[in-house]
Symmetry: C2
Subunit: 274 residues, 2 copies
Amino acid sequence: MRGHRSTASRVDTEGETDSDSETMRCISCKEYYGRCDAGTCKECYEEASDTEEELKREIEDLKAKVAFLRFWSPLDHHITHRSSAGPCFTDVVLIASSDDGFIGTGPSVPVPAHKAVLASRSPVFKAMLENEMEESRSGTIKISDVSYDALRSFVNYMYTAEACLDEQMACDLLVLAEKYQVKHLKAYCEKFLVSKLNWDNSVVSYAFAHQHNAKHMLETALSLITDNMDKLTKREEYTELVEKDPRLVVEIYEAYLSKQVNTAAHKDSSSMKP
Amino acid sequence: MRGHRSTASRVDTEGETDSDSETMRCISCKEYYGRCDAGTCKECYEEASDTEEELKREIEDLKAKVAFLRFWSPLDHHITHRSSAGPCFTDVVLIASSDDGFIGTGPSVPVPAHKAVLASRSPVFKAMLENEMEESRSGTIKISDVSYDALRSFVNYMYTAEACLDEQMACDLLVLAEKYQVKHLKAYCEKFLVSKLNWDNSVVSYAFAHQHNAKHMLETALSLITDNMDKLTKREEYTELVEKDPRLVVEIYEAYLSKQVNTAAHKDSSSMKP
């Protein structure tokens, strides 16, 4: 506990009754404090400590449960035995592809997986695999417009609920998560992207969030933009957005207007008070 | 927060300076208290509240992760479509059997599962399935000396990390968990059984824990027994244990002796002090 109150001039003398009668010692940080800085009584302190211990135990239990439920990903195995089918009992492969064939310079490396895992994490894969569609029969699922690295991270997440993110990877995975309805991954990527939002990337992020239905990211980006409306029209991204998708620009202005009206209403109701 | 201090005779008058000068109001329970009941300063209270909020958020995140990583068990499907292979992509079945054929009146119902799930949860299944043993080739794993219900719960636990326990089921699952080295399940059952320990079941539990290498349960049962040595020899289970496994009885006496020596040593060192 950081020492937030100086004790240099104090001596711990028990039973003091004169000018120090209003001084107490905090059970937690062991510093002295006066009445005006009093927090809780002893009983509440003890209850709070018990609660904290309980919560920490619950966290330990949940972490053990996560460790039990997560899989070794077939990709871990894949790296060392790329050529063999391996003893992972995989029954399907995913291949990154673009509309005009394979992405990149050569054919993509197939990413092995289990139908059961894909189907349990994504209702889209579930429908695809259970309904004996082409993908289920051939054991090959083509994933369009995605890099091999993003596809690999996507499959890995299905097994581990973990991914190593930078902004590009978070965007790529959010797109896949939205397409295949993997809610947990989408929330994970969106949380990361919201933490990276700033004025510089706000317009691009706003358009991206709109396109991929990322509500929380959309609201945060919109709030950033409407807080800086005076600078907005000078931005290159703004001009591009007007060109490409003017309806999104209209929504920015509507949000700005609505904010102004609310602020004005709030001021009015404040000034009405006696 | 429970009201643990009477406020009936108190009135909340701010700025009181006379005989109430040593009375403060707890920020948490809102009750009044005197100096001797003081707990923490305000700053520590606020820090503790922030910590609690953080821990709760972490718990929410972990719960969502568990929900994502757990599977629908193939058994859920199994109930409604018992006759069909179903669209669960299962590739192995487990069958409860005893040494002299099937347990019960008729052949056991096979419990479907995925090799990948079994192998990722249990190193024993992993070795069995990866090494192209009989079980892997036939797609059938016989589990000996187990009821259908216990086997079903065992397989279900591999998918969900959850089981509905009573004392019998906890014992059955602990035995399976030990045999197939499913550590998480073993700890789960052991925790449950330790919570049910009492003097009446202590001897049987002690022998059970010994047989199945359940260390925590063993220590707790042993401690219960050595606390009641005067009553031990009158018990039927004691006579049975002497007959069946006298070495376990010797270990009880050794633990009792060691406890006595420790207690005596502790008393000595206490009485040596000035």
